[in-house]
């Protein structure tokens, strides 16, 4: 039997090679993604948890001096459920490097010089914590973004309003933060000693706490448990120390700010790889079935001379295992290579440097099991069926035979079309002659087409979001003031400036949202960006805030007081049970105010902070006159050069008038953040479609090859009755193209459905709201061309073989 096995493999090596390639391609994708997913998970977890992130941050309404904060932290450490506590603060500032102002702002994290650095730690590369007064450490991924190097002198504005000149002493690796280039914001690390001014201590407003699981001293994975412990601490601070709590921030435990996105990305990729693997094993099972069917006469002969079903079954199982083994051998190193190439890119997306790129051992076992077990499992039924063929059945077996399937009969009406070429007619009917094979091939190609069109459509949808935003964005420059200012005063100053056509302003203030009598709770991460909430107080006559789409209730009425609109992200993260008509509490500057939620809006990427009130309503609630701290400025020509020039002029004018400007920048800067978030996803979806396309192409090639083998005699007859090789070739290629075109028709509805699902899922994940439904007609066109060309190419070998069969060979077949 070994000799027969060797000879059978040699005789049909091309078909075995196709089977090996089909499994190897999909197993490579599956293995590569699995390795990457496991390695990324391990590295992310190790790096993020290596920073000993705080389970929660209690943001005080008023900062307290570092000594008081240290004493409170020591008391908190003794409270039940608390592992560690420490005081910190942070601020955002414009940055000058060696006297040159940068467009990108910096976020500076501050810790006391005596901070034991047991929690919320970061890795200082060369020096040691703390930096000396007058020195700053800069995040390693911020160097290029800010155009700064070690030894440079940077100037930042401290919370007290003083300008601090600091020398860049070292770089810091901080894997707890999203990468600076994605956020378009640099990171700096400073000792509180640098903030101390004229004999007064620096102040801090954040109490970071690490909460334990019940029992052992490991940080809790249960957010509810964290919320409960930190809520108690918050009440204790208010009760015992008389401190007002601005907000309690509890991010998802053990999860990097971009963890959800990375997981969704890799899991969807893994699902795509698994789907491709499943489809390819089904394809191989089908190809093996064809092979077993062709061997039925030989099975009959072997049985006639004494071979049992078990022995024959083992023989074909060995054949299947050789295919599976060869594919696994090829796929394993390729998968490792893909993983090694992909892991640094994905970790880069998370801002993490890998300690090791190696996948965990168990992932190799999974890939080996998938490669070696799945194909024999899928081929089990045809294998058992073939090995149980009786001698009588084997003698009576005549291949595909003279019977056409009922599906072929169903296409009999085509013959009544006058002028339809008989060759094409035959090709069309032959396409569906083997319904199972037809469905498998069409299914494979349609799956690839579906993923391709959906992936490209995702790209179109993000472009549509950008277009929509550009259309709605009638302003060119955004200005963040350090404090509130009079709008009339600002308008008088700015509108006469060259190229400024209109100026609008409103107040945007960080806030906490809570139910009545509760402390505001958010999912805000330490960068104060991911998950933070702000209230935006808009003026009645604004033309620069397009009203968002409303999911519930209504938009604000002009001059209305006591009413707010929440966006869906803020509602879900802070007060998930609240509906239009309910009452909530906003905590601004330590002052609790009560509001009625009149509507829930749907916004992408957090919109303008998550909470909207009228300028009158906000001023009324805060008991202050209407002021603004954020400006939107429209220019005359809307080009980038003008935007930058206007931003600079506005900055200079306001600063000269004594109005502090935190940032003044062109609106194009915010586009970069979105592009950095979604770009890799689209590439990966397209990569899945290519892997599926390869498997689909192999499926088509193998189907056509099997079809040609099945119909060898028919081709002989065609040659015998006068068909030239090119006529036969045309018929076979036409079959391939019909199959490919059918797959396009079949893919239409799934492609629309997947586009909708991906647009909703990824839109919600990355932008907080579904992407607009867009179908990329370019993708449809490209896929149509690819599938027709691919169909013709995949069929070419089979067509060539069919066209060169001699009549004698064909008639002697089987």
């Amino acid at each position: 039997m070994r000799v027969k096995l060797r000879r059978d493999l040699r005789a049909t090596w091309s078909r075995f090679a196709l089977m090996v390639i089909a499994i190897a391609v999909s197993l490579t994708v599956f293995g590569g993604v699995l390795f990457a997913w496991a390695a990324v998970g391990r590295e992310t977890s190790a790096a993020y948890m290596g920073t000993e992130p705080a389970s929660a941050t209690i943001v005080l309404d008023q900062a307290i001096d570092t000594e008081q904060m240290a004493a409170i932290a020591a008391e908190v450490r003794a409270r039940p459920g608390v592992i560690e506590a420490t005081g910190r603060t942070q601020f955002n500032s414009e940055i000058e490097v060696n006297g040159s102002l940068r467009d990108i702002p910096i976020q500076v994290f501050v810790a006391a010089p005596a901070d034991p650095m047991r929690m919320a730690i970061f890795d200082v590369q060369q020096a040691t914590w703390p930096p000396s007064a007058g020195e700053i450490f800069v995040g390693s991924d911020s160097l290029t973004l800010l155009g700064v190097a070690i030894g440079d002198i940077v100037t930042v504005e401290t919370p007290s309003g003083e300008l601090a000149r600091l020398r860049v002493a070292d770089v810091v690796y901080d894997p707890s933060l999203a990468p600076a280039p994605q956020q378009q914001r640099g990171h700096g690390y400073l000792s509180a000693a640098s903030l101390a001014t004229s004999g007064e201590q620096a102040v801090m407003d954040q109490l970071k706490i690490q909460v334990a699981d019940p029992g052992p001293g490991t940080p809790s994975r249960d957010r509810n448990a964290v919320v409960a412990v930190v809520g108690d601490v918050g009440e204790w601070l208010e009760r015992e120390h008389g401190l007002a709590i601005g907000e309690i921030q509890v991010p998802e435990p053990y999860a990097h700010p971009h963890q959800g996105q990375a997981d969704a990305l890799l899991l969807s990729l893994l699902a795509g790889g698994a789907a491709a693997l499943l489809l390819s094993t089904i394809l191989v099972a089908n190809m093996l079935n064809t092979l077993f069917t062709q061997q039925i006469p030989q099975i009959g002969i072997m049985k006639a001379i004494g071979a049992g079903s078990g022995r024959i079954g083992r023989f074909y199982l060995a054949m299947t295992l050789i295919v599976a083994g060869a594919a696994t051998l090829i796929a394993l190193p390729l998968g490792i290579l893909i993983s090694r190439a992909g892991v640094p890119a994905i970790l880069g997306f998370l801002g993490i440097e890998a300690d090791s790129l190696a996948a965990p051992w168990w992932t190799y076992l999974i890939v080996l099991a998938a490669g070696l077990v799945l194909p024999p499992l899928m081929a089990l039924i045809p294998l058992i069926k073939s090995s149980r063929t009786t001698v009588r059945a084997a003698i009576d077996h005549h291949g595909l035979g003279a019977n056409a399937s009922t599906t072929t009969g169903a296409l009999a009406w085509l013959g009544r079309i006058r002028g339809l070429d008989r060759g094409l007619l035959m090709a069309l009917r032959n396409t569906i002659r083997r319904p199972a094979r037809f469905l498998l091939t069409v299914g494979l190609l349609a799956s690839a087409g579906t993923v391709f069109v959906a992936g490209m459509s995702l790209s179109s949808a993000t472009e549509a979001v950008d277009e929509e935003r550009r259309e709605q964005r009638t302003w060119d420059v955004e200005v963040q003031l350090a404090g509130p200012a009079s709008m009339d005063e600002i308008t008088n100053m700015l509108e006469p400036l060259p190229d400024v056509s209109r100026v609008e302003g409103w107040t945007r203030t960080q806030t906490g949202v809570a139910g009545p009598g509760q402390i505001p709770l958010t999912r805000t991460y330490p960068d104060q960006g991911h998950g933070s909430v702000s209230v935006t107080a808009i003026s009645v006559d604004t033309t620069m805030l397009p009203p968002p789409k409303l999911l519930e209730g209504r938009w604000l009425s002009p001059g209305e007081t006591g009413a707010i609109v929440l966006n869906q992200i803020t509602r879900d993260n802070t007060v998930p049970d609240v509906q239009a008509g309910d009452t909530v509490q906003l905590l601004v500057g330590g002052q609790p105010t009560t509001w009625t939620v009149v509507g829930i809006a749907e916004e992408r990427e957090g919109g303008s902070g998550g909470v909207y009130a009228t300028a009158e309503g906000f001023a009324n609630a805060m008991g202050q006159p209407q002021r603004v701290n954020q400006l939107r400025i429209a220019t005359n020509s809307h080009d980038e050069q003008t935007r930058i020039a206007v931003a600079d002029t506005v900055d200079e004018t306001l600063t000269a008038a004594g109005i502090e400007v935190q940032s003044a920048a062109s609106v194009s800067q915010s586009d970069l953040v979105t592009a950095a978030h979604l770009g890799p996803i689209i590439l990966i979806v397209l990569a899945i479609s290519i892997a599926m396309g390869v498997v689909g192409g192999i499926g088509l090639a193998s189907t056509m090859s099997a079809n040609i083998l099945d119909r060898t005699r028919e081709f002989g007859v065609m040659h015998a009755i006068g068909a030239r090789p090119k006529a036969v070739r045309r018929i076979v290629v036409a079959e391939g193209v019909f199959l490919a075109l059918t797959s396009v028709a079949v893919a239409v509805i799934p492609a629309l459905a997947l586009t909708a699902v991906l647009g909703t899922g990824l839109g919600n994940l990355f932008m907080g709201a579904p992407l607009p439904f867009r179908v990329s007609m370019l993708a449809v066109g490209i896929w149509l061309v690819l599938v027709i060309l691919g169909g013709a190419l995949a069929t070419d070998a089979a067509a060539n073989r069919a066209s060169h069969l001699t009549v004698r060979e064909a008639l002697a077949y089987l």
Binding site: I721, P725, V807, R808
Partner: protein, 232 residues
Amino acid sequence: MEFAIRVSDMVKTYPLSVGEVVAVDDLNLEITHGEFVAIVGRSGSGKTTLLNLLAGIDRPTSGTVRVEGADLGSLSESGLAVWRGQNVGLVFQFFQLLPTLSVIENVMLPMDFAGKIPAGERRDRAQQLLDRVGIGDQADKLPATLSGGQQQRAAIARALANDPPLLLADEPTGNLDSVTADAVLKLFADLNSDGQTIVVVTHEADIRSVAGRQVTLQDGRVVDDERTGVSV
């Protein structure tokens, strides 16, 4: 005199691991237009090989084969296909109708390949041929729904599609019951009486009653030719 078939000193050998096997050995044969020739012999006598050589399905190792004025040795595979479409109608033992085409479409297919009959006349001609072989009412059915005899009649109609001067048949009654086989032979006789040149390879004895000439092969050689009376 122009022969329909003229075979001269033809040898056909097949290489096997044990050496060459001679299937046709120095064979000479001439068949004139309008003849109905039965080539008979035992299994392995070389009669199917001879028919394949006459149809251009196989090529001789040496010697020449001229059929309907063409030297088959000089034609390529593609050229042979075109030549067959114009000059030869082939009938097989197992009918070999294409299962995905209806009976009439099977008959029209050689016309499509040869392009000899104008496209607009092909369906009518196919229907006439099916009427002639007695299965005109089965034209739109798929072959699998026909009986063996009906399928062989359809195969004969297909062989006549391009009005070929020569009809070659390999065991045309070998897969039919005796009554059906007789009907098919009668059909051949009718065609021959209309002037059709027919060469049938068979080991059925009944052929003697309809064929005008019987060539007997043994070990690849002609051992008896009823018309010439040659006896080795």
